[in-house]
Point group: C2
Chain length 360, copies 2
């Protein structure tokens, strides 16, 4: 079959021009006679690829000069351990805001390293809204405040930046980074697994304000000590070279599409189209408070859940793939990351109508 | 230009049929309409890829059933921290044998977690030989004995398995795993970065005896807790999915080439050809004791080092790439991993002769 519209939550769909370019260069990158996978990470060719990828990433997100960008490994879940290991310094506690499954995991892992203060939680309302800032009970002596700015499973997104005063704000942005402009200067540290909006799984981006470096626990593994990696230009160990290369191709694609502001406008339009259809009659349902709905991950349920299998089978037959909801919440989920074209969302909306007409 | 013969030490050359297959499947894996990079790691398609890769790896290396295989991230350098975090249990110290740059790094990192007893070292002879077993001063109360069975930079290789009695033997096999049969049952734990004989950088294999699981420090990051990952079938977090897929293609290629015994015979022949030429007249020189020479990484020096640049330029012009030695030791290095064909070594030998004839 031809390429499908892939609504998987991650590893997620990649822009087709990126995959085509990777395919064309796979055995011979620009006349070197080698695949990028076969290059020394310290050679001139790969160093050039890496420097351009970092520079493009910085430019696209307007990252200030006093922030370090690190392309590491381990995924966002690994950072759940390395953030406290790196940032606690002399402090004993950190604030965490619980807004869904991923922040809940972050809280569990952080508890191995420090006293975790859950400053706010929407668990009691099944994560159907972001707790408003005025309800957060922050500890002024916390080492940092941790948020997950887009919850992939629960479909809530921060459309605002919480003010945490002098305490550094740390954000897991895995599932919406690069989907909208960020005011990086309001964060102490941002991290993201690549496998949604950046590239393939196995690559993790960390953006960290320089003054937060150098306070890692002495037993922090060297390859995950942000100061060590910043000092080494994130080449203390061999990075996930092919992942970095693909991320670089994604950044070039983003640039060609008009940059982050242009992609945001498209993401807003895609999300609006899809939520409007879900809300239209009550045949489908999204449980999230409208102001907190994610533009990237759209969970939805059929009013009659006995139709779920038929819905998914029909979708698959129409080339609409990976729409099944996360096993922990059930139902359906459409992840509509940067690389999902408007045509893909339009095809999904058309199918939602068609299925409702046949079964409503 | 066409494909070169790539003697880089890692990320290293991959078998051309593997790259061709990856290229052909890059936008659409077997009619799914998706790249492997775009598949959920929990979906049926990728689960099938992962299970086959693990099964093929186990069969090729004849790994006994009471060992777990984990495809993780972070590289071998990360395991330098996670091995002590996972294996110390109640013990306070571990034995390390220093045979080159990589075991020296392992020792440095392990010192963050335990008392390191350097049981033997060849540092005084510039790592030109493996210290014989009878000279090792092992601590009977050590949690484990750590060796690096092939030193990528220094070009020494264990051609024997050290007897460590009841104390588990831990081996960093990054740069020669799958190049020869291993008696896995004599090791407690084996780890290897993929980027030499397995696949692309960003993937790390851990083989661990089941009875060594479950003794991790409580503050071990969950994604690097071997027991957690074993329990989750190494899917506690999103693995480096594309790396796993490529490793699987490499395993299929190895099988088609006749398996590990056949590849070992070829590796022996390649190494013999190259060392014979290096030793022939004294124009070139390899500093390692012949019995301890690596079959994978062959450092060599020109008697007249003023000729180094001319040597490298001539090599490059003949499509013999990445022959420059590691910056810490200088000279040249030819890495002749599984994927380096005999024809590549023959071309290098012919060039060594030609260069000597012109400059000798």
């Amino acid at each position: 079959m031809g390429r499908v519209f892939n609504f998987g939550s991650g590893p997620a769909t990649l822009p087709e021009p990126v995959l085509e370019r990777a395919r064309d260069e796979l055995l011979d990158w620009r006349g070197t006679g080698m695949s990028v996978m076969e290059m020394s990470h310290r050679g001139a060719e790969f160093t050039g690829i890496a420097e351009k990828a970092e520079a493009d990433f910085r430019r696209l997100l307007a990252i200030p000069a006093h922030y370090k960008v690190l392309f590491l490994q381990g995924g966002a879940l690994a950072q759940n351990a390395f953030v406290p290991m790196n940032l606690l310094g002399g402090k004993t506690g950190a604030d965490y805001v619980e807004t869904g499954s991923w922040s809940r995991k972050s809280i569990g892992e952080a508890g191995k390293y420090c006293k975790v203060n859950v400053a706010a939680s929407s668990a009691a309302i099944k994560y159907a809204a972001i707790p408003p800032r005025e309800e957060w009970r922050l500890d002024p002596d916390a080492a940092y405040v941790h948020v997950c700015t887009n919850e992939t499973i629960d479909g809530v997104e921060f459309h605002w930046v919480p003010d945490t005063g002098a305490v550094p704000l740390v954000a897991d942005m895995s599932s919406h980074i690069m989907s909208r402009p960020i005011d990086v200067g309001r964060y102490g540290l941002i991290y993201a697994g690549a496998q949604k909006n950046i590239g393939p799984a196995g690559l993790t981006v960390v953006v960290v304000r320089e003054d937060l470096l150098g306070r890692a626990r002495p037993d922090t593994p060297a390859v995950f000590d942000y100061a060590v990696q910043a000092q080494a230009g994130w080449m203390y160990n061999t990075p996930a070279t092919f992942g970095v290369y693909l991320a670089g191709l994604v950044f070039e694609w983003l640039e060609a599409e008009g940059g982050i502001a242009a992609i945001e406008a498209r993401n807003v339009a895609k999300a609006r189209m899809l939520y409007a259809e879900i809300d239209r009659t009550g045949f489908y349902r999204n449980p999230v408070r409208p102001a907190d709905r994610s533009r990237m991950n759209v969970p939805f349920f059929l009013a009659d859940e006995r139709l779920n299998d038929a819905f998914l089978a029909g979708a698959k037959a129409r080339g609409l793939a990976q729409l099944k909801g996360h096993r922990s919440v059930g139902g359906m989920r459409a992840s509509i990351y940067n690389a999902m074209p408007v045509a893909g969302v339009a095809a999904l909306v058309a199918y939602l109508r068609e299925f409702e007409a046949a079964n409503g």
